[in-house]
Symmetry: D2
Subunit: 386 residues, 4 copies
């Protein structure tokens, strides 16, 4: 196999998980602008996700969010997904939208609230059992808004206790993926604010606990690819939440704000042997003002382009330049790959996979956008509301 | 008059405007936690604001937000405020919650939307005419989320045109206060992102246009007191929106996150002759998890304490140390005031004004919190929703 | 002329000014790593700059820094530059390396120090008269490290007075370019910290005063292209200092840290009609660990590539998408240009201009690097030292 | 013992280590302003440190930096310190000022450089053996300036190898304290950029490896007290480097930029049982423009004031409010301690310890400042230079 063939082969098997909630409405604290044709239930979300996969060939699974995607029969939902050519992916818990969670969930000072949150996490594992999902992704909105509001350290004790209980509940093939976030919705302290905290907890939990890197959840100036490289080295990188940001957790389309950063991240993934099914590559974005399905298609394509560039890095030449201490040469090798226009290569990959070389154009021609606007009338549009 | 008497006199006349919307529910994009006893209409907001003024003696006016505070008869509302011992203050426009404003308001690419937004701003001036409010505060959520989404420069042209039209509509005693904000809800570009942009527009508009400094609307590391000093020097500081933040526009209680910063800001206000009725000292906060009325009382007290410390700075000693180039001495003079516990002084000021020395305790004893929970049953709680 | 021809024509005339000091040693506060072959006087710096221009065809002028480039006979230096195929560009003042400037220069509390700094600025204009340089670039390290250290507002008064005196000293064809910087070397307040401050001063000074945008001098999250667009709209953009940064004022090679940002900046330049000789496009970088001449060649090429992409934006299609409010389409038009590999186009442009298509390779083949190492033995290497 | 007595007792035994290099000259990359009377050798630094301890009673040990404090006879230096009433504290290594370290030290791509750096670290342990110092503090300037410059992950392997070798060299009572830093002097990647990285390495090394928190080494928005609480909970907090900053690693006097933050940090220290000799409380600051000895006295006092406030927090009342979920009450309990003017209490503590209640005034009266200016003439002033 030539090197280019190897690159193509890697691109052909790349899988990006799309989140069910990205197909629904979202917004800022100021306003949620509703869009026409938005899904009204989990099946309609899956139908939209199927279109993303149909045209990109790279989005075979869909992450669910409980309770936003609560259904009576998860096995039936998994079956429906299968009929659409999809699989159900990560189960995402929600311990932030119940009125009880005003001051936290598993870190709440009140044991009753902690118990309620824990029960929800257990229920999510039940959903996993029903859907066959292997990953439980836990993002906790827990934190405090004011100094003194609660005891930072005790909250860590409560956190450890809850995570341990959830971990014990996991089956042999299930994982707990712990996501960190610098701030928001908590504005003073967050209980899992950085990769160090997530890593420390996962380490104690065991091999089935791993860290989620959401690319929008860091302080300004954070070198995210360093974290990726470090977690891969430690065997503790479980998943990505891709999105992009200029300021805070802006949740823009992956690759839209800093395509060079996405490339650098994907380079560390490739270099660290992380381009495998063991790591879940997920989008987690909000399409507040742009059309949702094409925005997701664009995001998948952006991830593909960053990956293609990362795969094209001449690693031998790079290692040579690095070892020789030639700063400019080493940088040039990396930039040569980044500066390459990989769109023709990806078009080729798609054609070889029986896909239209231009997923966006194909989606537009498909009439799906018009069809959902026409058909999805009445009912309540899906959104972040519980 | 001794110096301490002068300090007391200044503190006795200090006025902090509270915003009607701070009495209603607010939250993050993830969840709005409803509180019991929250006002259901503008009159109930005023009733709550009257309590803040009753116990602090320092919150005599209330800012309105249109359309959240839309009423049929503004004159009647103003009359009601007067009966409560309050005045109506700044009128705040809202050009971000209508579906039309998805891509902006006065900067929108579509002239029809711009016209709609402009009409709203005119309507706000009508409200001012009816209430006797002298200030129109314009914060625009306008901006873009993606590079290329719209033409940054053309949006400035549209902005200038709209502001000019509003300016022309003002009466002789009315002002246009232009507020800037780094980001959110727009995540790539914001049309009035910094004081420089607001200043440049106000300069062209004329003397009745001035800049609003919202303490939470800056990039990390921004020296806000420098901006305050500069705008005062230019005669272009019109108003404050006080709140505090650790990360982004967190809208925590003023003085809660960085009390030293609030002191430094108030020092520049005092030093620049800004402690006058010409500058509107307003709170603009979200009490997402804490009780609203006491949080506002606390915020008013925090502003008072920062002001008291600023007034206590020995400016002659400071100037002497500054002129001599003694860095440590100059810093020590400032810190001496900051490190002073001014709570006894403020208790004295309150007692001399016939108030309880401890506004929080007095409010708690008043039974108002229990009363509104009992009485305000049914109806729809006020919030940010249009 | 076809559109591509127009793009090529623009690229052929593009001029990037290189700074004399980038050819000398620089470092961080921790260490300056000396390199072999570094120039020992202004003529050797010019000789190196001539090589950059020889191979890129795009670096025809060199900025001087006084006193680092002090010579007895500036006319002779200009003549020497001419012989090398170069022109002398901006004169950069230095009011931060004399012991007197510990607490500031033109903003210093002591009038004698202010006078000394002003005399230096006058002397720089004298140099301009001798060299024929038309631009005086003023970056002031003035500021304070501790709250209270000096009076923020009085410092503005002193600043205004000094700038006015310098402005009055300018000839008809000379400009004062005022540079702002968020922080460093001052850590609490900086006297010209942002574009708003620089703009406000320039506005009062008059038409010959304009603002310099150093791409590394902003707070995290600042949208620099917005500032560029705004200053162009106001007719107040005088020059750029290009470099790149991940954290603070890192002074890395232009385009190295965020090539997408450089593209967006150049797009606003092109769109705002700024790709003209009226705006000085300068590099201002530190090559602490990489070889200096090739680093500067790379930087010039990075600016060229960003410019080429900016010129390739299909502005009609973009305007159409923007006007229609199609967020994804508009973004896609911009990204299409960014994702284009413009290196072949630039190779063509170079060949059509009689240059080697690969400036880096040509420089390496030239033997210059080896020659200066061999020849420049003894003497004191140029650096930031006064 | 009453509670106040316990507070006083804690304050009387509090020890802040001062760094030898803070007595020497320092500056920014732009300029080092020399001061008169600055020490010229390690003994003179100790003499200055003795003055800080004489007047504060709280600075009994001095950290050394090798090679800046290299002497022929460390035992003699320790003896001299003892005569001055001081002890020698932490030994700080320097693997950044030799020309070999341009691309790193223990993470350098070249094994010979790594060996050289390792030998230096071993030599530092030798110094510890000679001085009786128990802590080796390792701050590595290692990192890269450009993407691709070196392999991020391999550098971690090299780092781990070196740390392990140093760890093995430690005696039973010696510790390796690993310091992290976000950026500078490396501008793209830093090999120990955050607490998570330092923690992960220390965890693998063993019990004698602990993390150093330098308060100026974090990204904007980082909640440092959370890190302190977490490391204490993990038993991995070894030491502090106190200083303060508005922007980056500004190295201003501790408590000067954000006294509230210093209080919150000290509160977590107190709450987490960290106010013990097991944790080294060190200053690490640069007095670029202010007089050095009084600046250090002021910093020690600032740490004392923050500690006093932290000790005054009514922890029972706080826990009660926290458990009840009363956000405002809990915050108020903390703020009550912060708003207290603890200067009278500290004056009392000093008097009870036989010290002058006002260390700054006492130092000024002592004539030491004048004496060192008069006596320390000729020779080379100490500074950061190798």
């Amino acid at each position: 196999m030539t090197e280019l063939d190897a690159v193509k082969a890697a691109l052909k098997t790349q899988a990006v998980e799309t989140p069910s909630w990205a197909y629904g409405n979202s917004g800022t604290r100021f306003k949620v602008f509703a869009q026409q044709g938005v899904p009204r239930d989990p099946r309609e979300k899956l139908a939209d996700a199927a279109k993303v996969h149909e045209f990109t060939g790279a989005a075979p699974t869909v992450a669910l969010h409980i309770p936003w995607d609560t259904v009576d029969d998860y096995a039936a939902l998994a079956k429906y997904a299968e009929e659409l050519g999809l699989g159900l992916g990560t189960i995402n818990s929600n311990t932030f939208q119940d009125d009880a969670y005003k001051l936290g969930s598993v870190c709440h000072p009140d044991a009753a609230v902690r118990r309620k949150a824990l029960d929800h996490l257990f229920a999510c594992v039940d959903v996993m059992d029903a859907t066959g999902s292997k990953d439980l992704k836990v993002w906790l909105a827990d934190g405090t808004n004011y100094p003194g509001q609660d005891d930072i350290r005790e909250r860590q004790d409560r956190l450890a206790e809850a995570l341990s209980a959830v971990y014990d509940r996991l089956g042999d093939d299930q994982r707990l993926l712990l996501e960190y976030k610098l701030f928001e919705p908590a504005f003073y302290s967050t209980d899992v604010p950085d990769w160090g905290t997530a890593y420390a907890h996962c380490l104690k939990l065991g091999d089935k606990a791993q860290v989620v890197v959401d690319t929008g959840h860091h302080a300004p100036g954070t070198n995210i690819e360093f974290i990726v490289a470090t977690l891969l080295r430690e065997g503790k990188l479980g998943a990505f939440d891709f999105n992009s940001r200029f300021y805070a957790d802006d949740d823009l389309m992956a690759g839209a704000a800093d395509p060079f950063q996405l490339f650098r991240i994907m380079y560390e993934v490739v270099r660290g042997g992380g381009l495998t099914p063991d790591i879940a590559f997920m989008l987690d974005q909000c399409h507040n003002i742009e059309a949702k399905i094409p925005a997701i298609i664009r995001s998948v394509m952006n991830v593909q382009e960053a990956t293609a560039k990362a795969l094209l890095v001449d690693r031998e030449a790079l290692a040579r330049a690095q070892r020789s201490g030639d700063v400019l040469d080493a940088n040039a090798v990396l930039m040569d790959a980044y500066n390459t226009d990989v769109r023709p290569l990806l078009a080729e990959v798609r054609e070889e996979s029986g896909l239209d070389p231009d997923p966006m154009a194909a989606y537009r021609r498909s009439g799906w956008a018009e069809r959902i606007v026409a058909e999805r009338v009445g009912g309540e549009q899906a959104g972040w509301g519980a």
